[in-house]
């Protein structure tokens, strides 16, 4: 049957093997980890991984243009404290429903602005994005704490109105609002990558900047755009995280960075640029989260779990390196 072969060739091997790995892991966990297969565990896990998914999708855009955004989690924290300072009942600048709408906009806007700054450094000043965003990461980390200290004597900004925090816990019908937001981000990202010229530009810039320039691709605009999208995603993830704890925290998501990069790389997004699929990122996030939850359910210590996760991430990065070498030959 030649058709079968043709279909097999069209299938992404990386996605298939990831899917297989997830299935195997799920089966193993069902057997060895009591409680993994329960509906509540799975439901909680699904809800908990949403912010990671949104961040990994955002990072994918930057990785596609062969750059990296190390400031992504610091962006989450910064947007969190700024938005919280606007609407906190303990002396926030705004009140009422309009205030809450403005707070939502501010998450997106502040995220976009930080992305814009990162993108401008990478695209126009031509700094290595690694260095530029490492700088932003430090700067935002410090600034978020400082900004918090201007608004409260405690270490975080509390007293967010209930109408805001409903985003973290509320549902529309049977669907949690956070899930709907994450689904919307995923669909938009998919459309952007697969159904617009911009999606092609991203891959073109990432897999050959010179050839992209000659072909008329607006290279600098594309890099800038990737960083802005990444910043916006950080802002959206921050909405969910902030609403969930009803507190603007300057250390929000501060220990998620490696998970974000790891999930993207496990999902087959190349650190060398030009390669990455939404489906892969979803599976990468799922695998990393399952690994984490499952190993803990099995009673492994925090450090053992870390070791295993680290190994998986290193393995994924090594596979990426090898694939890249093969492709360049």
């Amino acid at each position: 049957m030649p058709n079968v072969q043709a279909i097999w060739r069209g299938v992404d091997r990386h996605l298939v093997s990831l899917g297989a790995a997830i299935l195997v892991l799920a089966l193993v966990l069902c057997v060895v980890a009591p409680g993994f297969a329960s509906v509540t565990t799975l439901y909680d896990m699904a809800l908990a991984l949403l912010p990671l998914l949104i961040l990994a999708l955002g990072l994918m855009f930057v990785l596609l243009v062969a750059a990296i955004d190390l400031s992504i989690t610091a962006t989450v924290a910064m947007t969190s404290v700024i938005a919280a300072s606007l609407i906190t009942r303990n002396g926030g600048y705004l009140s009422g429903e309009l205030g809450i709408v403005i707070a939502f906009v501010s998450f997106i806007l502040v995220g976009a602005l930080i992305g814009l700054a990162n993108g401008a450094m990478a695209a126009y000043v031509r700094m290595p994005s690694f260095m530029a965003t490492l700088g932003t990461y430090l700067l935002l980390g410090g600034a978020a704490v400082w900004y918090t200290s201007l608004h409260t004597s405690s270490s975080s900004i509390a007293g967010l109105p209930g109408a805001f925090s409903v985003v973290g816990r509320g549902s529309v019908g049977p669907f949690p609002i956070a899930l709907l937001i994450a689904a919307a981000v995923t669909v938009l990202a998919w459309l952007l990558v697969n159904r617009t010229a911009f999606g092609r530009w991203l891959a073109a810039v990432g897999s050959g900047q010179e050839a992209a320039r000659v072909a008329g691709v607006p290279v600098q605009f594309t890099i800038l755009g990737a960083f802005v999208i990444c910043g916006v995603c950080a802002g959206v993830a921050s909405i969910i995280l902030t609403a969930r704890i009803e507190t603007g925290s300057p250390v929000l998501a501060s220990n998620m960075l490696l998970d974000v990069v790891g999930a993207a790389v496990i999902g087959g997004v190349s650190l060398y640029g030009g390669v990455g699929k939404i489906g892969g990122v979803i599976l990468g996030v799922l695998l990393l989260t399952m690994l984490d939850v499952g190993l803990r359910l099995m009673g492994m210590s925090l450090f053992a779990v870390l070791t295993v996760k680290g190994l998986v991430i290193v393995l994924a990065a090594a596979i990426d390196g090898l694939r890249n070498r093969m492709a360049r030959r």
């Binding site: 009591p34 409680g35 509540t40 565990t41 909680d44 896990m45 809800l47 908990a48 912010p51 190390l70 610091a74 490492l134 990461y137 430090l138 980390g141 410090g142 704490v145 405690s154 270490s155 975080s156 900004i157 509390a158 007293g159 925090s165 973290g168 816990r169 995280l241 969930r244 704890i245 009803e246 507190t247 925290s249 300057p250 250390v251 929000l252 998501a253 501060s254 220990n255 998620m256 960075l257 490696l258 998970d259 790891g262 989260t289 984490d292 939850v293 803990r296 359910l297 009673g299 925090l302 450090f303 779990v305 870390l306 996760k309």
Partner: protein
């Protein structure tokens, strides 16, 4: 206490360590028995104080014939919130929580209120709010004052002391209370104890070490140190060794050392003659109060919202009779 907020965000290494700490967790299951189920939600298990709290809690719960579910949030409040929800959906009968951020824990308390499940904050109070929960606190301020009283006594005996005071994280109510408790007493006796230096550590052992080393160089005549937590003792020992001042009690050059918490490191140094006094947190009493609170709620009565687990001062004089009450003693001697 050993609630070290990672504000430094220093390097990639910090990011790695952060990712290390930052993962969702659902601890080991220890289900079984017909009795009550209590959830233990810690934010980290990285210092002897919390490891011991955890162990004593489990021990008492088992003694009661109940069982427990456990999860560690790795200093991630958002994750801890998910863990609370997850525990509630498993129908636990009570929750012991050690949150990282006093504000961020409020939504979790509300969830517990809505599910009618009692929640106990163990040795770390939440921010004020309309949400209802029970808080077991140490008498930080009084206890630190008692420690200071002993230091004053020693100063009288030795003919005056020049003191260096380490301070924890200013975002943490516990560290502010201990600082104030100690300084209030000491400044009232300025004739015998002079505070020549205070070092903000932000609960960062590296900052404690470098700050103390600098202070000892600037003021070589420092002969008394107060630390608001025993987990900084190894750094203090190192700094004193470098300055040539790690000397046992009653010998030339000894630095009067006052600690707080009562962990096994403090016990050991007290026994060996380097530590002179320590404000011991009464973990056993705290755990008993938590357990009793659950029982009261289940029986339909309403326990005190804030309960004090009074600590006590142990020093080289009363060590022989009181050491078995010190939790650090039990860590060291199994």
């Amino acid at each position: 206490m050993v609630n070290r907020r990672n504000f430094t965000l220093g390097t990639l290494a910090a990011a790695v360590a952060g990712a290390a700490a930052g993962s969702w967790s659902l601890g080991a299951l220890a289900q079984g028995g017909e009795g009550r189920v209590v959830a233990l939600l810690f934010d980290s298990l990285q210092s002897p104080f919390w490891v011991s709290s955890n162990r004593i809690l489990k021990q008492k719960i088992e003694e009661k014939g109940w069982s427990f579910l456990e999860a560690v949030s790795s200093l991630d409040d958002a994750k801890q919130f998910d863990q609370v929800k997850s525990m509630l959906s498993r129908n636990v009968d009570g929750i012991v929580i050690i949150q990282t951020d006093a504000n961020a824990v409020i939504p979790a308390i509300r969830e517990a209120n809505a599910a009618n499940v009692p929640m106990v904050h163990f040795m770390r109070p939440p921010a004020e709010s309309d949400a209802k929960s029970i808080t077991i606190v140490a008498d930080n301020r009084t206890l630190a004052g008692d420690v200071a009283n002993f230091v004053v006594e020693e100063a009288r005996r030795l003919g005056g002391l020049k003191a260096c005071v380490l301070v924890g994280d200013l975002g943490d109510a516990n560290s502010i209370e201990r600082r104030d408790g100690f300084l209030d007493v000491v400044s009232a006796h300025g004739d015998v104890v002079e505070v020549v230096s205070t070092i903000p550590t932000e609960w960062d052992p590296d900052k404690a070490f470098s700050g103390l080393t600098n202070a000892l160089q600037a003021n070589p005549d420092i002969n008394c140190i107060f630390t608001p937590s025993d987990f900084l003792l190894p750094q203090i020992e190192q700094a004193l060794k470098i300055a040539g001042k790690w000397v046992v009690r009653d010998e030339e050059g000894h630095v009067v050392l006052a600690g707080f918490d009562g962990d096994e490191g403090a016990y050991q140094r007290l026994r060996d003659g380097f530590l002179d006094v320590c404000g011991v947190q009464n973990l056993f009493l705290g755990v008993d109060l938590a357990i009793a609170s659950f029982e009261q709620v289940w029986a339909g009565s309403e326990p005190e919202a804030t309960q004090m687990a009074r600590g006590f001062v142990i020093d080289y004089k009363n060590m022989a009779e009181r050491e078995t009450e010190m939790w650090g003693y039990h860590v060291l001697n199994g």
